[in-house]
Assembly symmetry: C2
Homo-oligomer: 363 residues x 2
DNA sequence: CCCAGCACGGTAAACGTTTACAGCGAGTTT
DNA sequence: AAACTCGCTGTAAACGTTTACCGTGCTGGG
């Protein structure tokens, strides 16, 4: 682990100045003879450019951070999988942060942008607090948020549309003749939890179905919580012919419980998950799930960030990725294991944000 | 995105020198009055230390890289999940590289260590070539390899024991009375593929079972490949009562095919996977799988690296993580869905490496 | 034959830190 | 009262690059 050569070492060996070395290494116009000498020397010494020194001078680290709640969650995983190659192709490295959805940790990440160890940040917070918004507004590096932020927030933003997603699922179940559609949700104080709760009521109403608190359960976004919720529902003998789950994990938990209770899926109870993670395809019966386009959202976020890095002054943009219902056996039975629906090419990139620039007042 | 304050800005405002500012910020002994002035100024300016400049001077980036074949693979995911918190607790950030198992890409990562953008690297290559070994030996930053390297390689190393793992599986199947145990493997030119092939033959021999090429298939480590292999086997009407799969994904593919063929699992054919990924628990019937301790390997690798960063001169170490058989429904039926076996606390950390230091010769 | 123009390359400053060293004033010792 | 110690602080160099600016020597036009 000897001290590596620097441009000084090269300059000495090649008998030129460090400025020439730098120029050759950066491909700036130089005499052939000099180029040759420098490259030979660099080659012989096994020189590699020091990224840190370079960053200090150029004010670019060629690194981008991605902060998510939990790497274990397949949703974020799908995002990382898309983000990574996009960034790599553009010459950026990916720094990973797992915040466990702890607000303080997320604020910390935002704060640490001041250290300038990355050129930008993609963040996917579960909850968006005022503190988040304040930090985002004053961040020292460009930020892209995956998830909904209040209208008018001046930040590049990628959203899923869980409202439409829930509606797709309910419509699907309704079309299959199901009328008692239970709902297993995640925490209501999370952005997705709240959105899905509202969407569920709305979708029922549209279809002329009554909203019945007796068949709604709120728990956590985990498999065990899903099982717990499903059991609570069954114990109450609430009688459902379908279960809408806010999450694939919740749905898997529900499947476990239904199976244990001797109920057939989908004959007795149809089940729909959300996020269309790998698990949905792996489970049996395979799980019908509403894809909220995790992969597409990741890709879009990476692209928004790259665009921003190339032009700091552009207007913030909003990308909304449309949901897609992926029908599998848990609603349609074994027969309908058709091909996975193809997602429409590019998600629509709607222009700037709505709302006034100035915070209060009515100018 | 205004230009942020530096220690110069603080020094000016506080009326002291930049040296004093630095000292205060680093907690070096300083007069109370000065401390107060500096901290006030820093606070008022919203100062944040520039990590790049700091790294340049201190030669420490507080970043560590993890290079794996594919983030999408649950095995690596399990590793990342463990590596991340360990590094974070020690004040390191995690930089992610996905190499798609392309040798050139992996060499590239090793080479780029010369850029000194990280303090160390954890790498999990699928194949280990001579070029890998050469680069590892001359790497400009400490490296930990997850996966087997030739004995005598002077590098911190974490290994799974797939040989024992395969034996556990075969023994289990044998104990259940299965005698025609097919084998669906991955590519033989990968380290795990080769190891598992050898282990399979060996384990059969130990149990006094004949090796029959007719019930062995080699494909890829993916679900579709597993399905293909299983179908080939069935088409050949080879007649098996169990399938040992080199991978959970292969096993899932096999389950699909068996189900489609109307064969009951485990009554007609028992199936064992390997890696014990999340998918194993999610599938139905749930999949008996040999855990090779991905999580433990990730953790161990992170710890080896941290130790090495604290003492560059220590001897390289080898950690071997013992496999654990996780019995689920695909072999034992619904009944045996017992609790997950508890992995023994700390994997044994055997001392240095075997083999001579000098490459050739017999001193 | 002189000088403008040009191609090339060297000198030095800058990026934002950390840190070795020296300076300085206030006690303390002789 | 000189010399010395001690606690604190400031000056400046260094980390390894990039780049503005200037100097040199050559070419060609008048």
């Amino acid at each position: 682990m000897a001290e590596g050569p620097t441009i000084n070492t090269i300059a000495e060996r090649a008998g030129v100045s460090i400025a020439s070395v730098s120029r050759v290494l950066n491909g700036l116009p130089t005499r052939q003879e000099t180029v040759r000498k420098v490259l030979t020397a660099a080659e012989e010494l096994g020189y590699v450019r020091n990224a840190v020194a370079r960053s200090l001078k150029s004010r670019r680290t060629h690194q981008v951070a991605f902060a998510m709640a939990d790497i274990g969650n397949p949703v974020y995983l799908a995002m990382v999988r898309q983000i990574q190659p996009v960034l790599k192709a553009a010459g950026y490295r990916l720094v990973l942060h797992s915040t466990d959805a702890i607000v303080a940790d997320e604020i910390d990440v935002l704060h640490s942008l001041g250290e300038r160890y990355v050129d930008g940040l993609i963040m996917s917070p579960l909850r968006v607090t005022d503190e988040h918004l304040k930090m985002i507004a004053t961040a020292r590096a460009p930020v892209v948020i995956i998830g909904s932020v209040p209208d008018g927030t001046r930040v590049d933003n990628v959203r899923a549309d869980s409202r439409t997603g829930v509606r797709l699922a309910i419509d699907h179940l309704h079309a299959l003749g199901r009328r008692r559609i239970g709902f297993l949700n995640g925490p209501l104080d999370t952005v997705p939890g709240a959105a899905r709760a509202a969407a569920y009521r709305e979708a029922l109403k549209e279809r002329g179905l009554p909203y019945d608190e007796g068949i709604v359960e709120v728990g956590d976004f985990y498999r065990a919580a899903g099982a717990r919720a499903a059991r609570a529902l069954l114990d109450r003998a609430a009688g459902v012919d379908a279960l809408m789950c806010a999450n694939d994990l919740i749905a898997l938990g529900a499947l476990d419980v239904l199976r244990a209770a001797g109920l057939r899926v989908p004959e007795d109870v149809a089940v729909v998950g959300m996020d269309d993670t790998d698990l949905a395809a792996a489970s049996w019966p395979s799980l019908t799930s509403v894809s909220l386009g995790s992969a597409e959202r990741g890709k879009a976020a990476a692209e928004l960030l790259l665009d921003r890095l190339n032009d700091m002054d552009r207007e913030p943009r909003l990308v909304t990725v449309p949901p897609v219902l992926v029908v599998r056996a848990s609603t349609a039975g074994e027969a309908a294991a058709g091909p996975v629906p193809v997602r429409q090419a590019v998600p629509v990139q709607t222009a700037p944000q709505s709302s006034p620039q100035s915070k209060g007042g009515t100018p």
